[in-house]
């Protein structure tokens, strides 16, 4: 523990991460406006800086992106590529301290308080990290250094791309005073909270810091105190160690159906395909999970999401599918056509599921899954697959399955 000593917290934020990785992998894309898309109907997950100049933003659909920038190049995302790059970036960070907390796929906090003196200070460390990441991967990042996570995060976002912003405790109040509530977003202050604050007449960090604690408490409950502190640039949250449990959050896939449908055999087939894909990734990461989420978007864009938590852990596509289908049945009889389906699994743990079964039929299924994984790992995904997936294949292209969320696995 560091006691009352001023902490030195560093945030690394990779710039336009997915797009930059794609540009590095394919030199043809470098310097060009590209967007990385996740789903079948193509929502922009990341836009390269070249595309951003034309006003292309995350969350737009491809049509909107093309209207903003007619020659934008869409690229289908590959989460495994981003995860493996992230894992290698973590290794660079871990050369300095084990107090590295993976915050999302492209952001990490580091606590340098006890180690900065070995490297000649936080600024030197930041520059070395930037240099290593640039040299090894050709990627740029923005770094913020501050006495706590909240301010480090704001500092990290302050200059992009390739920025470096360092703040000492004395500089924090003046720095915070300049910020609007909108600029505080993403540091424990969501968009909705920001909107509510503005509604209450709180438009700047300074106003938030000076707001009446009781009033914030009445409006936001226990979080009120935290928000006030955000406004003041105060935050005591420690940075976790890299070996702490778990940056692993969830694994999942979603797919927008090529056509809105009421046909349950199509729904079932897509659920099975999504379940198989999710389970195969889960096993690839040597994980098992026990909370299954099903997401459904209807033709009117209304969302349904349901979940089920088991007492035991699972990692096979069939088990996942059975639960997803059970959750789907809550929607029966179907009143609207289904547009998108998503299956994901959380509550993950390292795979202990070599637990043997007593009964022969279950043992056989377990062996079958292993054999299928071996074949698919060797010859490519879905070389061997359940026959029921055929329907889904006839309706859409497997490879266009996207990824839900920013799941990230440590090895």
């Amino acid at each position: 523990m560091t006691g009352d000593k001023e902490r030195k917290i560093l945030l690394v934020d990779m710039n336009a991460y997915f797009a930059s990785v794609e540009q590095q992998c394919n030199p043809e894309l470098r310097g060009k406006p590209i967007v990385v898309c996740g789903e079948g109907r193509t929502i922009v997950t990341t836009a390269s800086y070249e595309a951003r100049r034309y006003g292309v933003k995350t969350g737009m659909n491809l049509y909107e992106a093309k209207r903003a920038c007619p020659f934008v190049i869409p690229v289908i995302g590959n989460i495994d590529k981003y995860v493996s790059t992230s894992l290698q970036i973590h290794k660079i960070l871990l050369e300095y301290t084990d107090r590295v907390e993976v915050f999302s796929i492209d952001e990490c906090f580091m606590d340098l308080t006890d180690v900065e003196r070995f490297w000649g200070g936080g600024e030197k460390i930041a520059l070395r990290i930037k240099q290593s990441i640039k040299k090894q991967f050709g990627l740029t990042c923005s770094i913020g250094i501050a006495p706590n996570r909240v301010v480090a995060k704001i500092a990290g976002k302050y200059k992009k791309p390739d920025g470096l912003t360092i703040l000492t405790a004395e500089e924090v109040p003046a720095f915070m005073a300049k910020l609007t509530v909108d600029q505080l977003q993403g540091v424990g202050l969501g968009n909705k909270v920001a909107q509510k604050l503005k509604y209450m007449g709180i438009n700047t960090a300074k106003q938030l810091g000076e707001a009446d604690a009781d009033m914030l408490k009445a409006r936001f409950g226990v979080m009120g105190r935290f928000y006030k502190n955000v406004g003041l640039g105060i935050d005591h949250t420690p940075v976790k160690s890299y070996s702490d449990e778990p940056p692993v959050k969830s694994v999942g896939h979603s797919h927008t159906l090529p056509e809105d449908t009421y046909d349950l055999s199509v729904v079932k087939s897509f659920l099975l395909m999504l379940s198989e894909k999710t389970a195969a990734r889960l096993r690839g990461y040597k994980l098992t999970g026990r909370t299954v989420y099903l997401t459904v978007r209807f033709d009117d864009f209304e969302m349904f999401s349901g979940r089920d938590t088991l007492k035991h852990f699972l990692n096979t596509g069939v088990e996942l599918y059975e639960l997803a289908w059970k959750i789907f049945q809550r929607l029966m009889p179907l009143k609207k056509a289904v547009r998108l389906l998503g299956v994901s699994i959380t509550n993950l743990t390292r795979g202990v599921e070599r637990q043997e079964y007593l009964f022969e039929d279950m043992q056989k299924k377990q062996r079958l899954t292993e054999v299928m994984d071996n074949i698919n790992n060797k010859y490519g995904s879905f070389t061997i697959k359940p026959g029921a997936i055929k329907i889904a294949e006839q309706h859409g292209i497997l490879e266009r399955c996207g990824i839900i969320g920013t799941s990230l696995i440590k090895e």
Partner: protein, 368 residues
């Protein structure tokens, strides 16, 4: 309906009824308790549509017979009264007045006519009478081994087989299995097997008595089973599926057999399990000449080593288990010495009390 009762008399019955009230049902009626008073007794019923209970309750005086359903909050209310004399009176709109000394409460109920009762309209196949203590013993020895969720419906219950005067009961989650067999004083003419939902088992075990003289009557129907106790009847749906062939997975021949002091083994496993991570409780058990070694390790967290003296003269062997599975059975075995019987590190192993073949616990290893 109008009656007077002692608080303690009715509270016991109400609290039993509470076990059976459906939780999280969208049907308001299922959160209510059915009150039916005839000239002699008050009957309380509760159900969640899969299992239902009807409790006979003696009260001070029934001034006017009748029936109604009352929301379960009446239980909390009666629990909080401090005086023993309580008056309950229902008007024709199913609103119930509960009075105790100077306190008076009105609770809005629903008509009794709509209350769902599990029907016993099909033909009763046969009955059996057995000791409550024995049934409680059988259930408590095995029911923790059943699957606790419904991913495999047939395993989310306890399997019972009645044949002649023999009873066999099994619970398994597909990785471990608990088996109990016993003789009853009386028997059945034909053969019956039922998978009784774990939910029903959990409730039944709470109301069974330890008194050896108390008996329970079990009535067999095609799709339901009824348990009759002195002052209550419990009707449960059964799980209408096939149970796996457990006889096939209980090994009959072994290569290795060890005799281990139960307490020493149990406390060593419990200690070793503290090192394993919360979710994967893998312990490695090694048998060697007259000693048993337990190893456990959690990545970056630490490791455990335990050694205990045992009686063993077989080949050295090393097997990995889920510690939770081992701890479960050690809690219910009564004998001081247990037997561990193994074939190999890949086959099912048996844990049981020394010299007792009526209760067996079979557990699968974890493959490396």
């Amino acid at each position: 309906m109008k009656l007077k009762t002692k608080r303690t008399e009715i509270l016991d019955s109400l609290q039993i009824a509470q076990y059976f009230i459906s939780t999280g049902s969208t049907l308001p009626l299922l959160s209510n308790i059915l009150f039916e008073a005839d000239n002699d007794f008050l009957y309380l019923s509760a159900t969640d549509m899969d299992i239902s209970v009807r409790i006979k309750c003696k009260v001070d005086k029934i001034e006017q017979p009748g029936k109604t359903t009352i929301p379960k909050k009446i239980i909390a209310l009666i629990k909080e009264f401090t005086d023993d004399d309580i008056k309950i009176e229902t008007d024709k709109n199913d609103n119930t007045k509960v009075q105790c000394k100077k306190a008076s409460y009105k609770i809005n109920g629903l008509p009794a006519e709509d209350f769902p009762v599990l029907q016993l309209d099909e033909k009763k196949l046969e009955s059996i009478k057995m000791s409550q203590k024995l049934l409680k013993e059988i259930i408590s020895k095995i029911y923790y081994a059943a699957l606790k969720d419904t991913t495999k419906r047939n395993l989310n219950g306890v399997f019972f087989k009645f044949e002649g005067n023999k009873i066999e009961a099994v619970a398994t989650d597909a990785h471990r299995l608990a088996y109990y067999k016993a003789d009853m004083k009386t028997g059945v003419k034909s053969k019956f097997d039922y998978i009784i939902p774990l939910k029903t088992i959990n409730e039944i075990v709470k109301v069974l008595s330890d008194d050896d003289t108390k008996e329970i009557i079990i009535n067999f129907y095609d799709k339901v089973i009824e348990f009759q106790l002195e002052n209550m009847e419990i009707v449960s749906r059964i799980i209408d599926e096939n149970y796996p062939n457990y006889n096939q997975v209980i090994p009959k021949e072994f290569h290795m057999e060890a005799f281990v002091n139960k307490e020493e083994f149990a406390s060593a496993i419990r200690r070793a399990a503290t090192i394993t991570s919360d979710k994967s409780k893998i312990v490695i058990i090694k048998l060697d000449k007259n000693k048993l070694v337990i190893n456990a390790q959690a990545q970056d967290e630490g490791e455990a080593f335990e050694e205990i003296d045992i009686k063993y003269d077989g080949e050295p062997i090393e097997v990995s288990y889920n510690a939770a599975y081992i701890m479960d059975v050690l809690k219910v075995i009564e004998s001081d010495t247990i037997e561990i019987k193994l074939i190999s590190s890949m086959n099912p192993g048996i844990i049981k009390g020394k010299g007792n073949d009526d209760f067996l616990y079979i557990v699968m290893p974890i493959r490396k």
